[in-house]
């Protein structure tokens, strides 16, 4: 084996004056960074294994540990960066594709941060959510064009199934397998308490969680893991996953290391086998095939559940969205290229797809140009980081948003982007029982509720500031937005004016 040339990414700094050799860090680090030297009674570090997840930092009773970026420099080179060189070392050594986790970390424009919100002054009053009603409930589902009455004043129009959300937020798909059972339990219970939905992801539904069905979206992806009639009927909504923002054009990856007995039973696959979903659905090679799958799922569930179709934001997203609306989907999920993942090829994650803000704006406009915006709900996904992102997404045209990375962070995730190793020290993206039990579902559940309650309150505050008392009036209300530092093409695609206009 040749010399490992890959440089360490982090340095573990240990203040030996503070360290009491208690070895908590040794026990806590699943990556085996910390080593206790009994002879010298000192704790040492193997920096090469550190992923910067801060578990040791958080657990150290004397706060003796700090993690910093490796100070080792390559000779300065704007083109051949240290990262570029290290990636070549890795591939030269292993012959493998580079694998990454979580969303695209590259410095592409984040349009949310270049959009500003409006507020009322004088000519119309702002509304105080502490003193006046303020509504954030949304209905997700296909709407008929109009409502018709018979002579007796009864509605004759049949309203397709709708999902009632207490706030315009849902937990996005994260499979059991990619994340732990405790994480799933926390998401399911929080969704129930908050009056929203969580999403099984493509890994099936654990038998213990069928009881949260009213607050569950069950996903059907190309691998069809864990999909059967009871599963489809268990959820409130069904989601067909065509693509994912983190890896458009390819299927899901679950390394065999994460497939233990429980995951194996839920997914209906052998223990220890890699669960690699096919890139396309092998029964969907065209839009008319999608229509058939939508209708089969509806037929299987007696037309009682809305069917969502999730796609990655790619170049031609608006035409695809129009096709999906016409294929009979009740909602379309558009997942931007900063969306998270448990595992994706690095080159795909970092180079394929487009920003969600632009995709959302052009999809909403396209559906309106075709007069079919009301036929379908639009759900915006792919790195919603806070309540302001949500307000901006809805004003651009979304009915609701999905969050996943933010939910993981609320449960303790530190964005070390190492989910695929299965060694998550926070008990989230792992199936190792010793690690899983570190995530207390009662506490994680409370933290999720706290986060979304806080966000909902912030949304109400911003709505009130704009003189709006129902989120219905924010949807697609692009006059409430202004761009800052954007060129005219970007403003045109977003359909907003520049600040000062």
């Amino acid at each position: 084996m040749s010399l490992n040339l890959v440089s360490e990414r982090f340095e573990v700094l240990r203040d030996q004056n503070k360290c009491i050799q208690c070895q908590v860090c040794v026990k806590q680090c699943s990556n085996e960074v910390h080593i206790y030297d009994k002879e010298d009674n000192v704790v040492l570090s193997d920096n090469s294994k550190c992923v910067c997840c801060h578990r040791c930092v958080a657990m150290c009773p004397t706060k003796a540990i700090k993690i910093i970026k490796n100070r080792l420099e390559f000779k300065e080179n704007a083109n051949w960066t240290g990262e570029a060189i290290d990636e070549i070392y890795k591939q030269a050594q292993t012959g493998g594709m580079l694998l990454s986790s979580m969303g695209n970390p590259k410095p592409f424009p984040i349009y949310w941060d270049k959009i500003l919100l409006n507020a009322s002054q004088v000519t119309n009053p702002s509304i105080d959510p502490l003193r006046e009603p303020m509504e954030t409930k949304v209905m997700i589902g296909r709407k008929p064009d109009k409502i018709e009455y018979d002579k007796n004043g009864n509605i004759t129009t049949k309203i397709p199934p709708q999902i009632e959300l207490n706030m315009p937020i849902m937990f996005s798909a994260m499979s059991y397998g990619s994340i732990s059972k405790n994480a799933h339990e926390a998401l399911a219970r929080a969704a129930e308490k908050l009056g929203i939905l969580y999403n099984t992801g493509e890994g099936g539904l654990h038998k213990d969680f069928y009881k949260y069905g009213k607050n569950t979206t069950v996903q059907v992806a190309s691998g069809r893991f864990g999909v059967h009639l009871d599963y489809l009927n268990a959820g409130a909504a069904i989601e067909i996953k065509i693509g994912q923002g983190a890896k458009p054009g390819i299927g899901g990856h679950l390394p065999g290391i994460k497939v233990g007995p429980d995951v194996s039973a839920t997914r209906m696959i052998p223990e220890g086998s890699d669960a690699i979903s096919p890139a396309p659905h092998h029964d969907i090679y065209s839009i008319e095939d999608l229509r058939q799958l939508i209708l089969s799922l509806k037929e299987s569930t007696n037309y009682t559940k809305p069917v969502f179709v999730k796609i990655a934001a790619v170049h031609n997203v608006s035409a695809i969205a129009s096709g999906i609306a016409r294929a009979g989907a009740d909602a379309i999920v558009i997942d931007g290229f900063r969306g998270g993942t448990g595992a994706a090829p690095t080159r795909v994650r970092d180079n394929v797809g487009i920003p969600i803000e632009l995709a959302l704006a052009c999809v909403d406009q396209r559906l309106r140009d075709e007069g079919i915006r009301n036929h379908i709900s639009v759900i915006c996904a792919g790195s919603i980081r806070n309540s302001a992102d949500i307000v901006k997404a809805i004003a651009l045209g979304a009915d609701a948003v999905y969050i996943a990375s933010a939910a993981l962070i609320a449960m303790g995730c530190h964005m070390c982007q190492s989910c695929s190793t299965g060694k998550c020290n926070w008990g989230i993206a792992t199936q190792n029982p010793e690690l899983v039990k570190r995530l207390n579902p009662d506490i994680a559940y409370e933290r999720l509720i706290n986060l979304l309650t806080a966000w909902n309150n912030e949304i109400k505050e911003m709505l009130g500031g704009m003189g709006i008392n129902a989120i219905d009036s924010l949807r697609g209300n692009r006059l409430m937005l202004r761009g800052i530092g954007l060129n005219s093409k970007e403003l045109e695609i977003l359909g907003i004016k520049h600040a000062g206009e």
Partner: protein, 361 residues
């Protein structure tokens, strides 16, 4: 800068009178009422709508048009001739009022759509006329149709409303419904078409407020072939009503429950049948909810409607006397023309008051 090039918020005064029995009365009272609220306007817009004013032409669409010059007038008349049979055409009579300046050419036509045109397009006369009006207003720069209903008409311009009423000699018209508007725009457009009421076929709307849901409403209604070229609140509210009532055939009460939808918590408190209906309306038409402060008076062929936003952020008072019902932004504007009203009522937020002509009921 004028409406259509920029969005201009405005504060206002409104007033309205209806005689439920359909008895006609001249425009003197409505001018007096709106004049009392002089302080609520700033001289940059005033206007009136009267219903029942053209009994001799009651079956004809009455088109009131502003022209910037004779060239555009000739071009527009060519279009009118092509699409309508013109029964009568002429200047709308005005008198000289010192404060009213820069008046455009103000013309009136009583017309009927050319039947073969209507049949070719497979639509009814209302739809045909509405589309022609929208087309003129969109494509004929310098021409603006500001009234297009039957047996009704709008009269408006730049100035204080009482001066506008004087200018149009409203004492010479008799109607069974009158509405009035005094405008306080927050900049100086000075364009006659931008004054209120805004009308579309028989709809006329006067509005006090600034709706914060404007762009959500606009983008919704534009999916159905409307073009919000003026970028004003009244324009989008009129189109919403036209869509819901004329095109989607919702009963008026239901349409109003869409525009000022009850709060979800109030819907839940209704009995299950009612709750289901209200929920369906709100679910399907959530983008037609009007938000932000407003009080509006909607005139239409069957009567007069007063409507406030859901939490009553703009004032609105109503009163009755005999067969007449009065509405105004301020009680004093009612008492000045009806010193001893039988009852004074302050409609609640989101509570529509619908006064229908008895003959029509």
């Amino acid at each position: 800068m004028k409406e259509g090039q920029v969005r201009i918020p405005a504060g206002c005064a409104i007033s309205g009178i209806i005689d439920k029995k359909g008895n006609r009365f001249n425009g003197t009272d409505i001018v007096k009422s709106i004049a009392l609220m002089h302080e609520r306007s700033n001289g940059l817009g005033g206007g009136f709508a009267g219903y029942g004013i053209y009994p001799q032409y009651k079956d004809f669409f009455a088109l009131h048009i502003f022209y910037d010059n004779n060239q555009i007038k000739a071009k527009t008349e060519e279009f009118l001739n092509e699409h309508f049979e013109i029964e009568s055409a002429g200047n709308i009579p005005t008198r000289k009022v010192p404060s009213i300046k820069d008046k455009p050419l103000i013309w009136r036509y009583f017309v009927l759509p050319r039947i073969y045109k209507v049949r070719n397009l497979n639509m009814d006369e209302d739809e045909f006329t509405a589309r022609c009006v929208i087309r003129i207003n969109k494509e004929f720069g310098g021409a603006y149709v500001f009234s297009s209903g039957k047996n009704m008409g709008a009269f408006k311009g730049v100035g204080y409303p009482e001066d506008i009423g004087d200018f149009y000699m409203l004492e010479n018209y008799e109607g069974y419904i009158w509405t009035a508007h005094g405008r306080f725009p927050t900049n100086t457009p000075g364009w006659w078409g931008g004054a209120h009421p805004f009308t579309m076929l028989d709809w006329s709307i006067v509005h006090n407020g600034e709706i914060s849901s404007y762009d959500a409403n606009r983008r919704f209604v534009e999916m159905y072939g409307y073009n919000c070229s003026l970028q004003t609140d009244t324009e989008v509210i009129t189109y919403l009503l036209d869509l819901l009532v004329r095109k989607h055939k919702l009963p008026m009460e239901k349409a109003l429950q869409v525009l000022v939808a009850p709060f979800w918590k109030d819907i839940e408190n209704e009995n299950s049948k009612k709750a289901k209906e209200l929920k369906a309306l709100r679910t399907v038409y959530s983008s037609a909810l009007i938000n932000g402060p407003f009080s509006i008076l909607i005139g239409y062929e069957d009567g007069l409607i007063a409507l406030n936003d859901r939490i009553k952020l703009r004032s609105m008072v109503s009163a009755t006397k005999g067969s007449k019902v009065y509405f105004a932004s301020e009680e004093s504007a009612i008492r000045v023309i009806c010193p001893e009203p039988e009852n004074i009522y302050h409609p609640k937020g989101g509570e529509p008051v619908i006064v229908k002509l008895e003959a029509k009921q």
